[in-house]
Point group: C2
Chain length 190, copies 2
């Protein structure tokens, strides 16, 4: 993966870059990876196509930046196992709530119809979630527990934000966190 | 939803019908709802287009039959709460394993790119899973627990069969069931 030079988010270039990323996330989330073109992103951002090329080079690079995200699992982990579980669930749901076109949401939506996106989601979930959570589990089958954790969190987020199950969309995040955390604690710290 | 007359699965008509359904499931799972046409299904089944029309009428009807499935939750529920949890997880994973183009898999894949499919998945999960599981839960927040259960089972199945997380695809179903069941029991019977 080619890295583009970091820009201050408040410089002119940084603002343009952010505007392109925002438009691209909307486009990828709505139309999928295959049907999103650099032209479409440029139109949506009301920016010249050549600017998009200048900042991101290719559609694949643009997509990679759109779906880069970190879950601050280490920072969320505390001594208390119930508390950690609560923080994982709460942070994940609140991050998604705050931005329906978050990198995670875009990657999940596009991964159903694009093999490139699916392979990036696999890699990302493995590296950013399973590898990290595993280190915090002191039990048999730590890695499998970490993988199940990642998958069920994805299911919970999809149920609320992508499928839109009424019983999940209508519920307060606090209630979901309260009900789901003991389950997560049982999985990670049996 | 219009009901087509039931046919014995071994009669000539029943066999043709089944052949059309099998092709249609493959088409919908691979190409999504929008890009699947009656013509494509007919070609894939090596059957005349008019036969597909005769048996199913419209693409929407054909899709509805393709994605109709029942999870035998009542039959899986036993006196033992751990045992019930184990049976739910095991049956769901084994059903999917046995048929990667099962109705559930087709509906989940297509729901990411089709609002019709997403609304059918919402209704189906609500009626076939949440409504039923709720009746077996004797705890506060029974309905929310049932909804979280449905969402996390979807996440587990997607992680293994759609995203293909290596840590889940490489694991024996028995191991997954063993690790995931106590978590499900904690959720449903706190």
């Amino acid at each position: 993966m080619e890295k583009t030079a970091p820009l201050s988010p408040t410089s002119k270039g940084g603002l343009t870059r952010q505007r392109i990323l925002d438009s691209a996330r909307r486009c990828f989330a709505t139309h999928g990876y295959e049907r999103t073109t650099i032209r479409r992103v440029a139109e949506e951002a009301e920016i010249d196509k050549s600017s998009v090329m200048k900042y991101f080079g290719t559609k694949e690079n643009l997509f990679r930046e759109c779906v880069a995200w970190d879950i601050p699992i280490d920072a969320l982990t505390s001594e208390g196992q119930e508390e950690s579980a609560q923080r994982y669930v709460s942070t994940m749901l609140r991050m998604w709530e705050a931005d329906p076109h978050s990198p995670m949401a875009v990657l999940l939506r596009t991964s159903m119809t694009s093999e490139l996106a699916a392979s990036m989601l696999r890699e990302h979930m493995t590296r950013a979630s399973i590898d990290v959570i595993e280190r915090h589990i002191d039990a048999d089958e730590a890695r499998l527990r970490a993988a199940i954790f990642s998958a069920i969190m994805m299911g919970l987020a999809s149920g609320r934000h992508i499928i839109g199950l009424p019983d999940l969309t209508d519920a307060d995040i606090d209630r979901i966190v309260e009900v789901a955390s003991p389950m997560v604690a049982t999985l990670l710290h049996p």
